[in-house]
Subunit: 369 residues, 2 copies
């Protein structure tokens, strides 16, 4: 008889299991291979931040793939377009969750000095609160980051950064995509930022604003209502709850407000009009700005400088919003209001906002008034 | 001249915006209409818990749709299969997030008495911790639910339910899908459950276990290693951190362990072998059970009854796992171990596990030992 090697007999008796697809595969040099099993598709296109969109190649088993050039260490959003239908990567659990447009994300790891890399340092805690809003009549969440070794009985109360997300983001975007908690953990461990709380509320004062895309609401009363009502919710509901629940100073010197895109506009609208509440203001790639600055910010003049400790505005040079952001900064300066203006390469993306937060946080709550 | 009504002139001057697609649309009678825009697709099939999978019909604008029969109030997972490719519903932000298989969810609302409905009652807080595991050398999260009006200085320390997720779930599955926090909020508000903490750790002792599907690991050393290491992580790292950070009793009478699927098996394996640590045990639709019960639970006999306060095991009748779960219960009873066994209609699904949690929680930490 023929001898069949034992190892082959075992292999034949083992049911063949479909190899799990690996996607994305990050190579040591920063190239990334994306894969999608779609045997019946006619065309699959990769859309990925930081690299050109491109058609993927169909290979064995109906697996489409594409390998990029080396990408800089960062976290990039991407998706596949399969015969015109945008889909997330089913093989990748790292999502960029969004209320209107969820993408996948790929993390190209980099040195520990990058502010969003998780390091072996003490970590803060992210607390998720849910409450019934009396103003809006709905149930809404807010997140609170407490710094490592936060002490509810600390002698010195903590300062608080109110950090606002963008249009179509969920309340956890600054954590799950922006890595605000990791960035603060790192900055605090390095002694670069003061231990502070970061409060991240849901930013819609009117949930109708999120039913369709931005284009459908930008010039409507719904958007105006949403931003006004969010201001009320923040000032009358969120801040009092935070100041009751946590060991924080109920003091404008210990309150900052900053945000990205829609949240940048909200930070300016709320912050610049309430120097009795906030004296540290940051606005990243502000979107939905009212071009009628005189109407949006009626009391801008030199006297504001004695009240504000920081007004920090930034935008990417490839962001379609940079024009209006530049105009606002010029208008503020013409009014005599001091303002730090930063332009960086890049578009409307969390790849910029993580860096902006890492730049802003060390400036907050420093020095004496 | 012809008079054109002003309203029409305005309408004509307004750019036509693509109507945002509404999906899912839940009708008052419980029927649900699902929609997907996929003009180039040849076939789109709906897969939805609680109703038969079915082909969707292509309509205007390349929008595929399907309306179900009336569905009972509940939360159902679903997805679309577009020419063989499974996709989530891009119009629906309610995801059933999962490390290997993210679905969409549709909530068919029901009466306030359903345990997972958000009611106007005090809400607890969900805290997300991240720590470097000395045992595993990685960074891992665990969630802690504190009940409404949790008081870190309370005279009586709180009891803790360690609540474990299933294979391929993320650490937040019991909150984001299982609504454990909402269920506890409701039960506590009704006086049905004692105010307790619920701790939800990431359940993989070896992350290799999650690289492929269950079929690729179930009979391997990786699975054995994962369950053993998770036990170590829970007992040596998570529990000590919880008992250091929160006002909880470091006492077996105040510790329960329960879980679903993989987490059910872990609860039995960890709990039944450590009556010095846990005296309340729940196991829902346990998956990955070692069929060699004598080996997995070497010390089962009548003396356990004097130690355990509750051993609660449940499974759905349409779950492929019910056979082994029944056998385990029979074996335990033959060993003289008292056990509450519940069979309910349904398969391997959160629609059962939310109910099981709502049934189990009121039994925990009641009465005197």
């Amino acid at each position: 008889m023929n001898h069949v090697p034992v190892v082959l007999m075992l292999a034949a008796a083992t049911p063949v299991l479909a190899q799990p697809l690996v996607s994305p595969e990050v190579h040591p040099d920063g190239r990334v291979t994306f894969r999608l099993r779609a045997p019946d598709a006619k065309e699959v296109v990769l859309r990925c931040e930081g690299t050109k969109a491109g058609p993927m190649q169909k290979g064995e088993g109906g697996v489409w793939s594409l390998t990029t050039e080396p990408l800089e260490p960062d976290i990039y959003a991407y998706s596949f377009v399969v015969d015109g239908l945008k889909v997330i990567d089913p093989a990748n659990p790292l999502l960029k969750y969004n209320l209107l447009n969820t993408d996948s994300q790929v993390h190209v790891p980099g040195p520990a000095t990058l502010p969003w890399e998780i390091n072996d340092v003490p970590h803060g805690v992210v607390h998720r609160h849910l409450y019934r809003s009396a103003i809006l009549g709905d149930d809404r969440p807010f997140l609170v980051y407490t710094p490592p070794s936060y002490d509810p009985a600390a002698k010195e109360p903590y300062a608080v950064l109110y950090l606002l997300h963008g249009f179509s983001d969920a309340e956890d975007a600054w954590v799950s995509v922006g890595r605000a908690n990791i960035i603060l953990d790192n900055l605090i461990a390095q002694g670069k930022a003061k231990p502070m709380l970061v409060v991240m509320p849901l930013g819609y004062g009117n949930k109708e604003v999120i039913k369709g895309g931005w284009a459908s609401v930008r010039n409507t009363g719904v958007w105006q209502d949403s931003i006004q009502k969010f201001r009320e919710v923040l000032l009358q509901e969120i801040i009092p709850q935070v100041e009751k629940t946590y060991r924080v100073a109920p003091d404008r010197e210990a309150r900052a407000i900053a945000g990205l895109s829609m949240g940048g506009t909200q930070s300016l609208f709320i912050g610049l009009n309430a120097p009795d509440r906030f004296v540290w203001i940051g606005a990243f790639s502000s979107g939905g700005l009212d071009a009628n600055f005189e109407k949006a910010y009626p009391s801008m003049n030199e006297t504001l400088n004695a009240q504000l400790r920081l007004l920090w505005i930034a935008c990417g040079r490839q962001d379609g919003l940079i024009g209006l952001n530049r105009k606002l900064v010029e208008w503020l300066k013409a009014k005599g209001v001091q303002c730090t203006w930063t332009e960086t390469p890049g578009g409307h993306s969390f790849t910029l906002w993580r860096r902006y937060l890492a730049d802003l946080a060390p400036l907050l709550f420093q020095g004496k008034p």
